[in-house]
Amino acid sequence: MNMPGGYDTVLMIGWEYPPHNSGGLGVACEGLTQALADHNTQVYFTLPYQHPTALGHMQVVPCIDPTWSNPAGGPPFSVYSSTLPLTRNQVDADELHALPQSELEQRVEMYAQVVAQQTQAVQPEVGVIHAHDWMSFPAAAQLKQATGKPVIAHIHSTEHDRIPNGLGSSYILQTEAAGMAMADKIIAVSYYTKKLLVDRYGINPEKIEVVHNGILPLDQHAVPPAQSQFAPGQPVIVFMGRLTQQKGGEFFVKLATQVLRQRPDALFVIAGQGDLYHELLFKTAYDKLSASVLFSGFLRDAQRDKLLNRADIFVMPSLSEPFGLVALEAAQRRTPVIVSKQAGVSEVLPSAISVDFWDVDKMTRTILELLSNKGYARQMVTNQLQEVSSVTWDQAADKVKRIYRQAFLGR
């Protein structure tokens, strides 16, 4: 039995959870809460919508404002989509200050109110409050004020990552900064992110602990490599991620041009969707790559497995990537990985080749080397597999528990 009010009981403020997740946040919340449950932690997990099923390892607390139109189908809106009321199209930060409260701002604020009300029954029971990314910070701040309990702010992704040109939403930037200032402890998903929090948000490095995400071992549902054969004989080089500026899709297309000069038989596959989709399609055609750079659209489950299995090389040229789970998933499926130096995942996958996202020349050389030197590629796959096997959620939960304890004890 957990002690009421002890740090073995945690109130997590969430925003998305599989199957209704738009990205890595939901996946990370799933892995972490399952591992915490294995570490005898009682988790209450709030969501701004009705989760479709009951979960065995924790209790979901739906926190829905009655005015939201789609509380049952998923998050009230996708926070990382291109349809945010505040986008980089609004370039003047001063203008942003002058704007009336956006719909997004209102929703996040309303979520804070609803969370404060809906969790009243469990508040005495919990020892710590654990908030995931900026959407949950106003709620966490309210709870802290109401209960005096310590708050851990978990940073999976920042506005500086998502909109790397510095023209992100000032509301989100401020919410992130205020949330981290208010928090007793901050968890960053990588040293890369920790440095960004220090450099860009001016956070005291001593307040930040790094907890890398884990990855679940391949289960029996995973598609075996033998069932992942297509485009036989051709080198297949894969990009998988949202088609946004952050993920560096344009560098992948540039890379294709250069590699194809040496390996005209190579096939480049771009898997994902996003607001740069049309632009990338045009760039592909404009660069005369129509028969060599193919777009698969958004892939899930079996098709995702299939593409990562089949890939001869996986490339993640992100401009700024707090973690980058998909690179681990590729490594787990025996695919040599090239990641940008601006990505946290290389900290747990040191065998992956890391390259500046803009250094297309070096990526080209690496790809040509991997394609021609099979021994090199095999060795890389072996090393990566070994590294992936030690990246567990168990380890992450262990660290998180220690952070709970520190926060609870006020250290």
Partner: protein, 397 residues
């Protein structure tokens, strides 16, 4: 009171099926599906709504109005699909051919833009089409119509070299310089006779007939006859349009069939009016004495500018066309009949039309005709097919 020259175009492309990257290398069919073939579905639907009712109406009119003559053209890919999906259409066409009142025109078998990219491939496709017409209908056309009425001085040269006496195209004001479109022209080299589409009177039927916001809606036969009869006996009004105008673009409920039937019957109630086929008009026109139609840049019958931008404009279209025609020598050298046939079906102009990203009024027309949700999807699928064609080619060479 004028001469009327009707020409109807029959065409259906082989649309691409929803190919995915995971199909690469599995010898996929690019066009048909065993389970649910969109091409079959479209063809049969249009056959019921348009081809069969209009062909039977045309037949009835040839019997009832002996003066009624007209021209028709059908792409090879249309005739192939008709034979497979709606053989009744072929039977009607045969029946109409025997009346002697329907003149067949030549075109490229694959309804392609080869005249702009590869003269040799153009000739092969024209020959293939001629052979198909000979097989099916035992006819040998002497008049040519190019895909989408694409025309230029260079295209005229190609067509003249193939021995045709004339061809059809669009009357484009910027090249007519105020000359009338209602007479027979010749090309700049003086080798080929030309008929120019009367866009306004054609499109009154083909596009505006059921448009409620049009000031002349609903169009009556009386009014249309008034417009025709403005022209003197010596002049020719070329009414060129998609066959599917009747029953598909304009549904039966708009009254299009009744309108057409009445028009055909009433027009020749006056002795001075007459119907002519292109070759009849050309027979009485003498090269050398005709006005010249000088078209240095290619034109077509599509969109407001009557140029090529419906097919050759954005990067999607340009790169796909480039790749298709760059592959030509290797494809032909492969001697792989299936590969060559697939490659030719990819040349059908509709694939590039679907990739068009022009907006405004033309965009509406494009969206109406496209089976894909967007030009981006049209390009995405086409590029997957191109990758597979390249892969197959690498295996045979």
């Amino acid at each position: 009171m004028p001469q009327l020259c009707w020409y109807f175009q029959l065409h259906q492309p082989y649309r691409l099926r929803d190919l995915s990257i995971f199909d690469l290398g599995s010898e996929p069919s690019y066009f048909g599906q065993v389970e649910r073939d969109a091409n079959r579905e479209v063809f049969q639907k249009v056959a019921q709504k348009s081809y069969i009712p209009m062909l039977s109406l045309l037949y009835r009119l040839t019997q009832a109005v002996p003066e009624f003559v007209f021209a028709i053209s059908g792409s090879g890919v249309f005739l192939e699909q008709a034979a497979e999906f709606a053989p009744e259409v072929i039977a009607w066409l045969k029946k109409l051919t025997t009346t002697g009142q329907m003149e067949w025109l030549s075109e490229t078998y694959h309804h392609s833009l080869a005249s702009l990219y590869s003269p040799a491939e153009f000739q092969r496709q024209v020959a293939a089409h001629a052979q198909k017409l000979d097989e099916l209908f035992q006819v040998r056309p002497t008049v040519f119509r190019n895909t989408e009425l694409v025309y230029s001085n260079d295209v005229a040269q190609l067509v003249a070299e193939l021995g045709y006496q004339g061809m059809l195209t669009e009357a484009v004001d910027r090249y007519l310089n105020g000359q009338p479109k209602t007479t027979v022209y010749q090309d700049v080299s003086g080798q080929l006779k030309l008929l120019l589409k009367h866009a306004q009177l054609s499109d009154d039927i083909a596009f505006r007939f059921s448009e409620r916001s049009w000031q002349w809606y609903p169009l009556t036969v009386d009014r249309y006859l008034e417009w025709l009869e403005v022209y003197p006996e010596s002049e020719v009004i070329n009414l060129f349009m998609d066959f599917e105008t009747f029953g598909e673009h304009q549904w039966e409920s708009t009254g299009i069939f009744d309108f057409f039937e009445k028009l055909i019957r009433r027009f020749v109630e006056r002795d001075w009016n007459s119907y002519k086929t292109p070759s009849q008009l050309f027979a009485s026109a003498k090269l050398g004495s005709l006005p010249t139609y000088n078209v240095p840049q290619p034109i077509s019958w599509a969109d407001v500018d009557r140029d090529l931008t419906a097919w050759v404009d954005n990067a999607f279209q340009r790169d796909c066309l480039r790749l298709v025609y760059e592959l030509e020598p290797a494809i032909l050298a492969s001697r792989d009949a299936q590969l060559i046939n697939d490659w030719r079906r990819l040349q059908t102009s509709d694939h590039f039309y679907y990739m068009c990203t022009k907006w405004s009024a033309d965009g509406d027309v494009h969206a109406y005709f496209s089976p894909y949700e967007s030009p981006y999807e049209a390009y995405r699928r086409f590029s997957i097919v191109l990758a597979d064609v390249k892969r197959r080619l690498s295996l045979v060479t």
